[in-house]
């Protein structure tokens, strides 16, 4: 892509630091880059790398107590005109307010919290124009409708009269983009704008941003943690690690010849979980299935009360049937609202299904019908069937030490206590790769990845046979994701485990599972061998899902193919 050579934004050795107690957290430390019109610069890094703070520094909206302590942010809107050093402007004075939103606009990760819930969409867009004194109310409203049309919101006239909660996540992000474009900015900063969205919606939003960039000649600064997205949209890439730039290169060069060890690690992790990785796991030789699910359904009943009109019953899971064999990893993939988490909760009976059978063959060969068992009957099943949760910060009791957390299932089932319990906990910690001396610590002392290891140790405490992992790696950074998956795969043959792995991330599922079930609107639309599903999908929905996955390869930019001019 041809990029014009004049930089509109030039950041030179930017330093944004946060004084925390007596220490100085160098969130952004000596970061430099240039951004030109029509060009997309991606800043990529894991959580805590300082990529968001860099973006926020440009608009001087760094949260307290952070402060720009050095460097320059040179903004040259007009090549012949003067240059402003944004870093020198007072964050609350008029000059920066004129640039903020009007010249440089920003869109955020969570569109719901960035939109006011009590104002109509149209007015929220028009307000910026009126506030900057660019238009009167009537013209501004007309412009708002036009902007909604530009961001491809159907029926923009009516959409302008709606409230944010009436929009889906993708529509809200479109509205946010329309708002950002309202004053015809020259630079668009997008801070993880697609992270909270489903993969198909993400593809649409990325296409939209690309199209608008071409139409308006925008300079785009795109912040993301996803190497796939980077490969698909970037011209230049800035890799950040602990507040510093470790590598800065054109996208093709970076992907072809990464230099910095951290970049290489990041790239390897992304490729390992990418769709072009070596073929997925083969099928296990089926014997007798350990779990047989037939026509499972959960319908939330119609809710009627004295003052509320009855809502129709909502089916969350309908007619789901599958078998799971010993030693097998079954992946359940789907977008938000597809019912995959509800299905997982039904299998382990946190929720009670409204119809269907879940037959589980216990270790001693007995069959248990989970769908109808009571609490006492479930107890022996829950010793063999364990769960790993999505949020490692919420799934450990903050008032219990690691030892108490891991030992809890052993203690309440009356299996171990005292010194043998303590020994077993340390053995489990060793299994998940944590040193034994962390047993006396509290969960708050651990990072997300370490906490997830503790959760795994707790799940393993009772020598389970089946583990249901619900988005177990989604809250983790990409390098950690691979580590946790490898840990589980490593433990599997040693402990004779089977997994049901629920995720929205096809790459993770493909890496981890033998078979994949694709869920859509509460139903399994396709089920088959992992490799087959990914390489030769048969159902239209599966094809659509696969086509939306951003591949970590800048040579295959299929995602934006149709947006190219």
């Amino acid at each position: 892509m041809p990029t014009s050579p004049r930089p509109i934004l030039q950041v030179k050795s930017l330093k944004t630091w946060f004084p925390i107690g007596r220490h100085m957290l160098k969130a952004v430390d000596d970061v430099s880059f240039m951004l030109s019109s029509g060009q997309t610069l991606c800043i990529v890094g894991e959580s805590g790398s300082g990529k968001s703070i860099t973006a926020r520094s440009i608009l001087q909206i760094v949260g307290h107590p952070g402060r720009i302590v050095g460097g320059e942010i040179l903004y040259t809107p007009d090549p012949a005109g003067p240059t402003v050093d944004i870093a020198r402007l007072h964050p609350k004075r008029r000059q920066i307010r004129d640039i903020r939103g009007r010249e440089i606009a920003m869109i955020f990760q969570e569109p719901m919290t960035s939109l006011s819930p009590i104002h109509r969409i149209g007015w929220q867009i028009a307000e910026a124009l009126v506030a900057h004194g660019l238009m009167n109310r009537r013209d501004a409203m007309a412009r708002a409708v036009d902007l909604l049309r530009q961001v491809e919101i159907p029926d923009p006239v009516n959409a302008a009269q709606r409230y944010p909660f009436e929009f889906s996540g993708g529509m809200r992000q479109r509205a946010m983009i329309a708002m950002a474009l309202a004053c015809n900015p020259k630079v668009l900063i997008a801070d993880e704008p697609t992270t909270a969205l489903d993969v198909t919606t993400q593809a649409e939003i990325l296409r939209l941003i690309k199209k608008l960039q071409v139409d308006h000649g925008l300079a785009v600064l795109f912040i993301t943690h996803d190497m796939g997205v980077v490969a698909q949209i970037a011209d230049d890439v800035l890799v950040m690690f602990q507040g510093r730039v470790v590598e800065h290169a054109p996208v093709r060069e970076l992907f072809a010849r990464p230099v910095d060890p951290y970049t290489i690690r990041l790239m390897d992790a992304a490729r390992k979980l990418g769709m072009a990785a070596p073929p997925a796991r083969p099928l296990v030789t089926p014997g007798e299935p350990m779990l047989r699910v037939r026509d499972l359904a959960l319908t939330y009943p119609a809710q009627a009360s004295l003052f509320r009109k009855a809502k129709p019953p909502t089916p969350a899971v309908r007619g789901v049937s599958f078998d799971l064999y010993e030693g097998e990893n079954l992946g359940i993939v789907g977008e938000s609202g597809s019912g995959k988490t509800t299905l997982g909760s039904c299998l382990i009976r946190v929720l009670r299904p409204t119809a269907g059978q879940v037959s589980y063959r216990l270790r001693d060969g007995q069959e248990a019908e989970l769908a109808t068992l009571d609490r006492a009957g479930l107890k022996p099943v829950h010793r063999e069937m364990r769960m790993i949760f999505q949020d490692p910060f919420a799934s450990l009791n903050p008032r219990m030490t690691v030892e108490q957390c891991i030992g809890e299932p052993l203690r309440v089932n009356g299996l171990l206590s005292g010194a043998p319990l303590s020994r077993r906990v340390r053995e489990l910690l060793g299994m998940v790769g944590l040193p034994a001396d962390v047993a006396t610590r509290y969960p708050h002392a651990f990072s997300g990845g370490q906490r997830q290891r503790i959760v795994i140790a707790r799940a393993l405490a009772l020598d389970p046979r089946l583990i249901i992992a619900d988005e177990a790696t989604s809250a983790l950074d990409v390098t950690l994701r691979g580590q946790i998956l490898d840990l589980l795969l490593d433990l599997q043959p040693r402990l004779g485990l089977s997994f049901i792995f629920i995720s929205h991330d096809l790459g993770v599922i493909r890496y981890f599972c033998n078979r994949i079930a694709v869920m859509h609107r509460g139903e399994i639309v396709e089920i088959g061998q992992a490799d087959d599903i990914c390489a030769r999908p048969r159902m239209p929905y599966t094809k659509q899902l696969l086509a939306a996955v951003p591949e970590a390869d800048p040579e295959h930019r299929f995602l934006l193919a149709e947006a190219a001019p």
Binding site: H382, R399, E408
Partner: protein, 370 residues
């Protein structure tokens, strides 16, 4: 302590300890804590702290004004530390015949710590005669905060009044807490119909106009009941209305905790219902409950003050801050003896201190809930 050592201590620090570390950084809350402890200590050792018996009246010292303490005494050998107050003389204006107190520069009443004064029975059974501060000669009188209509020492009365006022706060909150945790817990843990019913009851109670209800309930109390019985009944009346706020706090926390994955995990681990509630859920609530309780005590104290001020709470001879303020109900006595309003200052200081303390506790317990 080195950095690494600090990190290790923090890693093994329990939530209670972390809360305390955060609380200690909250300066206003630390002030609130100190003042609160001081106030309760004064109430506990009232007999010792108060210079006089609160019921000793003296018809010749009616509305005696407050006396200022002078710390340095001028003697022939120069200045020396010897606190005293100037005595007052009652003089009658020869024309109007109105009585007025004038300072008597010639007569000094010297004060000392741990003065031997009137005998008392601490808590009703420990005899003693030592007072924290008192005149050197026990037959002298000193009115640091003035005297009331019957010539009784206002300072001593405020100190003794704190007993009823502060303990009503604690006792009332304990009853409220019991009701609040029970109903809030039931409501939050079971949800559904139980929750609906409890919430409607709470809304009904909150919709009642409090003061008329208190009036009606207090009016039912027989006037000839002993002060102790009235005291407990008043406490009960106040807390019957005060528990609703606590119940809401507990319910809200239970509802949000119920959906936390660690509670689901505990259920899957095979924990029994009581174990889930008492081992996994309640410990996460204690700090919030302590904070809510601290914020509820001032409400109780204010309610008691209001009731007693209206003459429906504690009846003389029982002393509480509200009952003392009743003395200041008519304009004439305030004009003549403005120091009768001082029990109000005691109420304000207590309420402020407890509110600072409660705010600090709440912030420390849940640093993200803003």
């Amino acid at each position: 302590m080195s950095m690494a050592a600090t990190r290790d201590t923090l890693a093994t620090a329990s939530q209670a300890r972390l809360t305390w570390l955060r609380f200690r950084r909250h300066r206003l809350a630390m002030v609130g804590l100190t003042v609160t402890i001081l106030l309760y200590a004064i109430a506990l050792f009232a007999e010792f702290v108060a210079p006089f018996n609160p019921d000793d009246s003296n018809a010749r010292l009616v509305f005696h004004p407050p006396q200022t303490i002078h710390f340095l005494d001028r003697t022939p050998d120069g200045l020396r530390f010897h606190p005293y107050v100037n005595a007052f003389l009652l003089k009658r204006d020869p024309v109007t015949l109105a009585a007025a107190y004038v300072p008597d520069a010639n007569r000094k009443v010297y004060l000392r710590f741990f003065a031997s004064g009137e005998p008392y029975l601490m808590w009703g059974f420990i005899p003693g005669r030592i007072h924290l501060v008192g005149p050197e000669h026990k037959e002298d009188t000193v009115f640091l905060l003035g005297a009331d209509r019957q010539g009784r020492d206002v300072l001593s009365r405020i100190i003794f009044g704190s007993r009823a006022s502060l303990s009503i706060g604690l006792l009332g909150v304990s009853i409220s807490l019991l009701l609040g945790i029970t109903f809030g817990g039931l409501s939050g843990y079971y949800g559904g119909r139980t929750d609906w019913a409890v919430q409607r009851v709470i809304e009904f109670i909150l919709s009642l106009p409090t003061i008329p209800i208190w009036l009606a309930l207090a009016a039912v109390l027989p006037k000839d009941w002993p002060p102790m019985a009235t005291y407990f009944t008043i406490t009960l009346i106040i807390s019957l209305i005060g528990w609703t706020e606590l119940a809401r706090v507990v319910r809200g926390r239970f509802l949000s905790l119920r959906s936390e994955s660690f509670v689901t995990a505990a259920w899957l681990d095979g924990c029994s219902q009581p174990r889930i509630i008492f081992r996994h859920m309640l410990p996460s609530l204690t700090s919030h409950i302590i904070a809510a309780v601290t914020l509820a005590i001032p409400q109780m104290i204010l309610a008691e003050t209001a009731l007693s001020f209206l003459g429906l709470g504690l009846q003389p001879p029982a002393i509480s801050w509200g009952a003392l303020l009743k003395e200041a109900q008519n304009v004439q006595s305030i004009a003549q003896a403005p120091w009768l309003l001082l029990p109000g200052a005691a109420v304000a200081i207590t309420v402020l201190a407890l509110n600072f303390l409660g705010d600090g506790l709440r912030d420390a317990a849940d640093p993200h809930a803003h």
